[in-house]
């Protein structure tokens, strides 16, 4: 658990390594598995897969609509396609194919959004994928997964390979420490309580989970008991865990490396109808990011331990 170490001592992982090793492992025993890319072998770290299964790597070139459509066709032809590309292009460029070919058609295909959020930092808003969670959670029948660390990434990939339906998975490029405990098993719509608390609940997803844990430490020093929920799926949400948090703590703070209409909007829509609670949203709100590295941008938007702690104090009126 990351809380056992100080931030400076943590070993950070690129979740793409877990993604590709898991895919290769699955493909060894399941010849239905193919990868579909848009000249994104390198950026998807698919080199080991390309080397081991060259014939099962379908590279359509820089053509995202074709890529997602071909993925749907491969699924129709009995394959289990993992369509892997930079999340910004996979979602924005091919959104109608995601909506119709994957979700409306209910094909068993896995859309793998690489380097999501603001991972591309200085490359700017053209390459950021902060809209993906807000967009994709509105599409019926699509499971939207945002793993928090390598273990959860690997488990999400395994789950998606076996799930007969369309799935979107973010694979983080920004370094993250291990955050899920030994023996953890991913399931859609099941949140993980990483820290119990009674004053406020921080609901985080993906790369922000470790920041939420650090924020809870800061709050504890102020005498505020913060619960930390890791929410690995934006769709479906763990409604029971969220409703319990709304009942049992004094406010909810959502945290995401995305527009706050992703996880934040989803949680707000649930609570406002079922158990209204004071909320604050940490993430990016209605703006294109300025130039800066990913770590600078995370701090700039308050997607940081101190930013989350500030939001938690604010929601409690302290």
């Amino acid at each position: 658990m990351s809380t056992a170490t100080t931030p400076a001592e943590r070993v950070l992982h690129d979740c793409r390594d877990a993604w590709v090793s898991t895919l290769v492992e699955l493909a060894e025993t399941d010849d239905r598995i193919v990868a579909v890319v848009n000249d994104s072998v390198g950026s998807s770290k698919l080199g080991p897969f390309a080397e081991r299964f060259p014939e099962r790597l379908v590279n359509v070139g820089i053509a995202e609509q074709d890529m997602v459509g071909v993925g749907a066709g491969l699924a129709n032809g009995g394959k289990v396609p993992f369509v892997s590309a930079a999340a910004c292009f996979l979602t924005a460029r091919a959104m109608e194919q995601v909506k119709i070919d994957a979700a409306y058609s209910q094909h068993h295909m896995v859309l793998v959004g690489q380097s999501p959020g603001m991972a591309y930092g200085e490359l700017g808003p053209t390459h950021h994928s902060i809209e993906d969670l807000a967009w994709l959670r509105t599409i019926p029948g699509l499971t939207v997964i945002v793993p928090a660390d390598p273990t959860e990434t690997a488990q999400a990939i395994r789950w998606a390979a076996a799930h007969d339906g369309p799935v979107f998975i973010r694979v983080a490029r920004m370094g993250v420490p291990d955050v899920v405990p030994e023996g953890y098993e991913f399931a859609p719509g099941v949140a993980l309580t990483l820290r119990d608390g009674s004053d406020v609940t921080v609901v985080a997803t993906g790369t922000t989970v470790v920041r939420a844990l650090d924020a809870a430490e800061l709050l504890a020093a102020d005498g505020i008991s913060a619960r930390v929920l890791s929410m690995p799926t934006i769709k479906p949400l763990d409604e029971a865990a969220l409703l319990a948090a709304a009942r049992e703590t004094g406010g909810i703070v959502t945290v995401e490396e995305a527009l706050t209409s992703g996880l934040g909007g989803a949680v707000a829509e649930l609570l406002v109808t079922r158990h209204p609670a004071p909320m604050r949203f940490v993430g990016v709100s209605d703006t294109f990011a300025p130039t800066g590295s990913v770590s600078w941008l995370m701090d700039h938007f308050g997607i940081s331990a101190s930013g989350i702690a500030t939001a938690a104090r604010d929601v409690l009126g302290r």
């Binding site: 193919v34 014939e55 099962r56 379908v58 359509v60 070139g61 053509a63 609509q65 074709d66 997602v68 459509g69 071909v70 993925g71 749907a72 066709g73 491969l74 699924a75 129709n76 032809g77 009995g78 394959k79 396609p81 109608e96 194919q97 119709i100 070919d101 409306y104 058609s105 209910q106 094909h107």
Partner: protein, 303 residues
């Protein structure tokens, strides 16, 4: 902007002709070519008669593009394709994707003619909760391989099914019909590049070349010519055919896969609204709904 609802006439249900469809089924095995052509011609006649009644009853539909593609659909489902209702679970069955999904009524009627749908179901076309949506949906009908409607989706999907077949060494062929106006969507050309570069010889792309799109002639909108040269340049084996000639169509489809090892692109020259005198090659009939008098006139021409 004109929306389709503006075009819905006041339909008197009593004035809508009956909803029967004589199901001919596939061309019997062992039939001669002449017998096959006669079977297909009769099936296409009955499909058109049923189609126009469905559109009239629903008050919605795309009859022009349906009548241009019916001969292609009937030839595929009743003769060319290795695909029958008892084969839906067979991974090696041939695949068909109607990329121009707005011609849904033609597909449904053809599926009924081929035994994939009970003919009585056709009367539910576009009714509330019907499986027969205004555009075909994979989740609603077992024989529909992919949901279509937005243009430019079917061909990339067909490339994927053909690619899967190639990986498996399967004998199955994938047929996809695109409208000619639809080729203005760039995704088709992405997919054609992929098909050509990967030598997907079991793929057959059929262009319903009726020369009209929703608002005007294709040539007056964003022209495709020289279409055959473009398709050839993308690595296709290009064949041009009269898309209403069942004999010519079945010969062309029998030639897939082409000996050249290239995917086949069939430019099927058709007329929107064929063969109805007042509809044929008339841009007004993209999604116009016929009056009772026009239905009677069309049916008399389809005797």
């Amino acid at each position: 902007m004109t929306v389709e609802e503006d075009l819905v006439p006041q339909v008197d249900p009593q004035a809508v002709p009956g909803d029967t469809l004589t199901v001919l089924g596939r061309v019997p095995s062992g039939a001669s070519r002449d017998e096959a052509v006669a079977h297909l011609a009769e099936a296409a006649r009955l499909v058109r008669r049923r189609d126009i009644m469905m559109v009239r009853a629903a008050g919605l539909g795309h009859i022009g593009g349906e009548f241009s593609v019916i001969d292609i659909l009937v030839t595929l489902y009743l003769h060319a394709m290795n695909m029958s209702p008892d084969q839906l679970g067979d991974p090696d069955r041939d695949r068909f994707i109607l990329s121009k999904g707005h011609a849904a009524a033609a597909l449904y009627t053809t599926l009924a003619m081929a035994g994939f749908l009970p003919p009585e179901q056709l009367s539910t076309f576009m009714q509330p909760l019907s499986q027969l949506n205004g555009h075909p949906a994979r989740t609603k009908i077992a024989a529909v391989e992919a949901s279509t409607g937005p243009l430019g989706h079917g061909l990339p999907i067909a490339v994927g099914t053909a690619f899967a077949g190639k990986l498996d060494g399967s004998s199955r062929r994938t047929f996809v019909v695109v409208g000619d106006g639809e080729l203005q969507e760039g995704s088709n050309w992405e997919a054609l590049m992929t098909a050509g570069n990967h030598g997907l010889d079991h793929l057959c792309v059929i262009v319903d070349r009726n020369r009209l799109q929703q608002g005007a002639r294709v040539a007056d909108t964003n022209d495709l010519e020289p279409l055959a040269d473009k398709l050839a340049a993308f690595g296709m084996e290009v064949v041009e055919v009269n898309g209403h000639d069942h004999g010519a169509l079945l010969d062309v489809f029998a030639g897939v896969p082409a000996p050249s090892g290239k995917p086949t692109a069939v430019i099927a020259h058709t007329d929107k609204g064929h063969p109805i005198s007042f509809m044929s090659d008339n841009v007004a009939w993209h999604h116009k709904v016929p009056s009772a008098e026009q239905v009677a006139q069309a049916l008399s021409e389809l005797e």
